[in-house]
Symmetry: C2
Subunit: 406 residues, 2 copies
């Protein structure tokens, strides 16, 4: 644990019953802002994300990335003495976060009503795919399941073709951020009014809230608009999309007031007032012809970077479509710490994403390590629950607590 | 304005200098939790999102959706008397949120140092595409620009083909949520330590943080893994992707421990231990053959819903790929308020996404209306700045304040 005094959440303690991605993202964000997070891991193997992704010395980098700075308490949850430890911890924390399937936490004896008996102003944050209510709430789900029900999957892919997936946990991670936001709001209310709350944050709802225009477009247009996937170009603006260039691809967003800047960058001032392209509606209608002109111009450059440089000099919103490898060495991403190198006790140095929230007068990217399984068993029982060494040894001996070097 | 007493942020007042999407999403989330948001709109037309999307009675539904519950103060920012009103408001608020291009707010005379002179514990939240620092910080950007630099665009599309776009403001909205989270953390620190802060939240950083596995996979594997787009299936799990069905598409995630459940749903218990499919690695290797089997089975159903029903009964994680229209009438999305109908003063009833954060003991989906341009000019100047009617009339007369019925 780093010294967190002065950090925004240094006075917040969280009991973290989550695993995999959406839940751990919520508590990862809280840790980065200084919260103390006690992660409960079920014996024998703990969070199942310890078993996925890329390994070195038995360390899953997937687990490492999502769980830096958390304390690991590895407990046999099928043993009543293990469950008793959890119940004992509840009055010592401000927040409980869980992402079991709805109903499971009640069955475990850790439902909201029970938690309130143990700590009247507890904040319980439940994260799930479909939410705690509604006909689908008991169905199994993951990011792509919530995404498909939200209509978001229908917005990815080529027009008229099979929809595709987004190759990252966009919904899981975004849901974790909304959950963390809900937790801080609930804590503010608790501090002021002395009441807790039970938050219900779902991947489905989060994805749905990302439809800035799609939802209202349908009945707002009386059914005339029917939003669907459109490949590499947005349907309602032009030029706006992904264009082929030498050795790669470039996103260009030169619609509306940006159009003349692109024309000037292309040294094609004649296009600004060209009869086929002078208005947004015309550029949309004549998108194919316009794409041909732009891609022919891009092909004159030796590479993506030189074309981007010319357009950026002309103030045209544009970007190379960087591969993941390219992001690791990009000047801007490195300078800003968007990509950061961390030193893991088991793995050594490795790159992971930086903290997405930056502060001017508050530490950024504090040094944190992901815990070994059960690394903080003794520390938590001694410091939080006041157990003596003999009691802790007896629990270890009885198989109520576990530990592994991974 | 609704009565917000008892809401989590009923004691928080925000000066909102944002427009378009990422910024207004931040303040939209704050409003939903009870904050009072004074939105500054520049004369003559205000937030440019008032001019986009679907209209009725001059009302942009795009503007409506992102700005419900905010107060609109429409000011001539090129008139020193207009700017003076903004400076007068700063000591009356807790938070200022802005999403100008970096440097603009300093040039306007509203930079962090100036704001601190006016209110020492002010929280300033700056939202941008690339962030406030780094070589690209002064470049123009939008969601898709940050997305391309983050490597996320390279993860969307068919393997080996041109990358595609996600048809919604996923990055804008997610960045707004991270900004709101940063604001609440900063307010907690302010309340405890008496200090403000300047937050720097970027679309690029937010997208990058969504790479749950892609970033560490590259150097964690010593360069052996090179994450890229993979169309409708995830590369490292199987079956896991989008499958063709009768009249539509279904996402099925029947990897690892879910595999036997899918086999039983298909009444193909023989596949569980089949030599080609009995292990995850084999199912990945033989993905094409497995997809053919699954899609042939799906084709036997009359429609998507009946196939989903059978798999859900067998506890297989799966989902129909709903179109946007289908989401509007889905039982679950309606029952949960994931889609909600609001009544806009100019437009009438229309569907928009529900608030992604739900509370058990705190009002959800509070009734809110988007403001007309300049609707709260008098109210804000009178109630927040103590101006008398004569002064306000003189400012209107002088063209320092504006109003429009849109």
């Amino acid at each position: 644990m780093s010294n967190t005094s002065g950090l925004a959440l240094s006075d917040v303690r969280v009991l973290d019953l989550t695993r995999a991605v959406a839940g751990p993202t919520c508590t990862r964000l809280l840790v980065e802002m200084g919260a103390e997070v006690i992660k409960i891991e079920a014996m024998p193997d703990g969070d199942f994300s310890r078993g996925v992704s890329v390994f070195k010395n038995d360390r899953s980098l997937y687990f490492m990335q999502q769980n830096r700075g958390k304390q690991s308490l590895c407990v046999n949850l099928r043993d009543p003495r293990g469950m008793a430890l959890l119940l004992e911890l509840v009055p010592k924390v401000d927040v409980v976060v869980e992402n079991f399937r709805p109903g499971v936490i009640d069955a475990m004896g850790l439902g909201y009503e029970r938690l309130r008996e143990l700590k009247p102003d507890i904040v319980l944050c439940s994260i799930s795919s479909f939410g705690q209510t509604g006909p689908l709430s008991d169905k199994p789900g993951y990011d792509f399941i919530g995404q498909a029900y939200s209509g978001m999957t229908s917005m990815v892919g080529e027009y008229g073709e099979r929809p595709g997936l987004i190759g990252a946990a966009v919904g899981d991670a975004g849901t974790g951020a909304h959950a963390a936001l809900g937790v801080l709001a609930a804590l503010r209310r608790r501090d002021r009014d002395g009441v807790g709350d039970h938050l219900d944050v779902a991947i489905l709802d989060t994805y749905y809230s990302y439809h800035d225009a799609n939802v209202h477009s349908v009945n707002g247009s009386g059914g005339a608009l029917s939003p669907t996937r459109n490949g590499a170009h947005t349907p309602y603006l032009s030029p706006c999309g992904v264009f082929r260039a030498s050795g790669g691809f470039i996103v260009i967003m030169a619609f509306m007031h940006h159009w003349p800047d692109l024309c000037r960058s292309m040294q094609r001032g004649d296009l600004i007032s060209h009869a086929d392209f002078c208005e947004e509606a015309l550029r949309i209608k004549n998108r194919a012809a316009l794409t041909t002109i732009i891609e022919a111009w891009l092909a004159e450059f030796p590479d993506v970077a030189s074309a981007v440089q010319v357009m950026q000099a002309g103030d045209v919103p544009c970007a190379p479509v960087l591969t993941i490898e390219e992001t690791l060495t990009d000047d801007h991403l490195r300078a800003r710490g968007t990509v950061r190198t961390v030193d893991d006790p088991l793995h050594g140095k490795v790159d992971i994403p930086g903290n997405p929230i930056r502060w001017k007068d508050h530490p950024n990217n504090i040094p944190l390590s992901a815990p070994l399984l059960g690394q903080h068993n003794v520390e938590v029982l001694r410091d939080k629950l006041g157990k003596d060494a003999e009691t802790i040894d007896a629990l270890i001996e009885a198989g109520v607590l576990g530990q592994k070097n991974c």
